[in-house]
């Protein structure tokens, strides 16, 4: 049996003396889609940042393809095939759309491959192609989210870490973004999705993990968890 793509083992992350993650373990097989849901402050974003290398873990391990990566700085982890779409999109407002997309390929050296991928992202998001020379800060929220996803995909990730893609977007735009994510995953990209909108997330991902107070509360197939009364009460707004 081959090693899972991502394996997190008893991860602890703390901000000073406050523990945001208290021994979280997770496994993600290649090609899988995993939704991470939970209340504000449950540690969802912290977990994504720790995987991407933007936060250091206090204890525990993170493995990619069976290799420990938790001691590696963020920029080398990217080269191993992961990309993060940060919360609040994190586009570069004073760069053009095109420059933003190219930043996603900053650590790549294959000029021809990058040019091809740029065209592929324009084909995926025709709106971005129309606005290619426009400054990213002048885009609408939905366009910025498209740009952030496109930029992450420019690094040709095998594992996509996505933090709250639906935040602050209109329902129509959210639907578009999630349809695109479905296509991206169909091409074989593994997805770790953090989302407030639990129904949407569980609809996209076959497996769901519920995080509460920095610990795993529930884990299972999305189809089962959707019917779980605890999940329904806490995250799906049903009595």
């Amino acid at each position: 049996m081959t090693a899972p793509l991502l394996h997190i083992d008893k991860l602890h992350v703390a901000y000073g003396r406050i523990e945001a993650l208290r021994g979280v373990s997770l496994t993600l097989a290649a090609g899988e889609r995993l939704a991470l849901i939970g209340a504000n402050g449950a540690g969802k974003t912290t977990l994504l940042k720790a995987v991407a290398g933007l936060l250091a873990g206090k204890q525990g391990q993170i493995q990619l393809d069976g290799q420990r990566i938790d001691r590696q700085p963020a920029h080398t982890r990217l080269r191993l095939g992961m990309a993060l779409v940060p919360e609040g999109r994190g586009i570069f407002p004073e760069m053009s759309v095109r420059e933003n997309l190219l930043m996603g390929a900053h650590c790549r050296n294959d000029t021809d491959g990058v040019a091809g991928d740029l065209e592929a992202e324009y084909a995926r998001f025709p709106r971005l192609a129309e606005r290619s020379a426009q400054l990213a800060g002048t885009l609408s929220g939905g366009e910025q989210q498209m740009l952030a996803i496109g930029r992450a995909l420019m690094g040709r990730p095998r594992l996509l870490l996505l933090d709250e893609p639906s935040m602050g977007l209109s329902p129509i735009m959210v639907e578009k973004i999630f349809a695109t994510l479905r296509e991206v995953c169909a091409q074989g990209v593994t997805l770790l999705l953090v989302e407030q909108n639990a129904r949407l997330a569980m609809d996209l991902c076959e497996r769901t993990v519920v995080l509460e107070h920095g610990q795993l509360a529930l884990e299972g197939a999305s189809a089962d968890l959707v019917r779980d009364p605890r999940v329904q009460a806490a995250y799906l707004g049903q009595a």
């Binding site: 990309a83 994190g90 004073e94 650590c107």
Partner: protein, 341 residues
């Protein structure tokens, strides 16, 4: 390179070389000396622009690198230690020593941002000046507040930049020589900065400035690029320092005060942060304006028949007002970078 570009380059070179003659003809030979200092400020401002304008690391102690460069040159080419190294060795060493100081300063600062970074760099600038001021005992290294005297003039091969140069029947006056050298170096640095800005490194700096977290998420090594910005900016400052020492023949710690750091920062803010032509314009204006305002004395005499306010007091007041007015009218700088590109 195409013939057209070569021709343009040649024209630009001739135009730059003609500047001292033009300035002397229009304003007199004192202004050639003022222009030499202004060109040094252009070098300083372009250097600080790498750190502040490109990478967004606010450095309020930049003049320390100028000081390190100046003292490196001075100690290696003066009677202080009886050393008289040639320019081709001392100038790169000035830049190198300052670059090393940039790395030393940058390393502990990597985690700091914004105001905190500004405060620590400000402290670094002051510490450097105080150190230089006191390094005359127990072992006399810098000669303390008396400064270093009789520093060797700038000399490359057989050309002495403090003497007139005779090329065939043509004479380049002594006052023009350093001015020409500084203009040449400032132009080279400006060209290098423009290239740097659109390079891979420049893009990474731009990303770090706009959103450090997103830059890290794009695989940019924040540590490496921030240190590079500090070191490159510092070496430009060090080179300017070496030239300054050789030009003046004398340096003392008081040339490297906090006011100078602020002045260089003002130049890039006023001109247009991150934009090479803007930075050059800002440096030229701020370096020459205090000199131009000396004319306030004769002006009062002519208009009012009597010098009512000492021009030495008045000119700094007008200088300050001019700064305030310019920032109100053009908050992004006189010549900011255009959008779109």
């Amino acid at each position: 390179m195409s013939a057209r570009r070569l021709l343009l380059l040649l024209l630009a070179a001739v135009a730059l070389a003609a500047i001292p003659w033009l300035v002397d003809g229009l304003l007199g030979v004192t202004w050639v000396r003022i222009l030499s200092f202004a060109a040094l400020y252009v070098v300083l401002a372009l250097g600080l622009n790498i750190t502040v304008g490109y990478a967004g690391l606010l450095d309020l102690g930049y003049i320390a690198f100028f000081a390190v460069g100046a003292y490196t040159y001075a100690l290696l080419s003066s009677p202080q230690f009886g050393l008289h190294w040639p320019l081709w060795a001392t100038l790169p060493l000035s830049a190198g020593a300052a670059g090393l100081f940039g790395l030393l300063l940058g390393t502990p600062l990597l985690r700091l941002r914004g105001d905190y970074l500004a405060i620590v760099t400000l402290g670094f600038g002051e510490i450097t000046r105080i150190f230089i001021n006191n390094l005359n005992s127990p072992v006399n290294i810098t000669n303390g507040p008396q400064g270093v005297n009789q520093i060797d003039a700038l000399r490359v091969g057989g050309v002495d930049f403090s003497q007139a140069l005779h090329v065939g029947g043509f004479e380049v006056p002594a006052a023009y020589m350093p001015c020409l050298l500084f203009i040449l170096l400032a132009a080279l640095l400006a060209w290098a900065c423009t290239r740097l800005q659109t390079s891979r490194i420049g893009r990474a700096w731009q990303a770090i400035r706009q959103d450090p977290l997103a830059a890290a998420a794009c695989g940019i090594d924040l540590r490496r690029y921030k240190l590079l910005a500090f070191a490159l900016g510092a070496s430009a400052g060090g080179m300017a320092g070496g030239l300054f020492a050789g030009f003046q023949g004398f340096i003392s710690p008081e040339s490297f005060s906090l006011t100078e750091s602020i002045m260089v920062l003002c130049m890039i803010v006023l001109g247009g942060m991150g934009h090479v032509p803007g930075v050059i314009v800002g440096a030229l204006i701020l370096a020459t304006l205090p000199e131009a305002l000396r004319a306030l004395g004769p002006l009062q005499q002519a208009l009012l028949g009597h010098v009512w306010v000492d021009p030495a007091d008045l000119r700094m007041l007008v200088f300050g007002l001019a700064l305030v007015a310019m920032m109100l009218v053009r908050p992004a700088g006189l010549w900011p970078r255009g959008a779109g590109r």
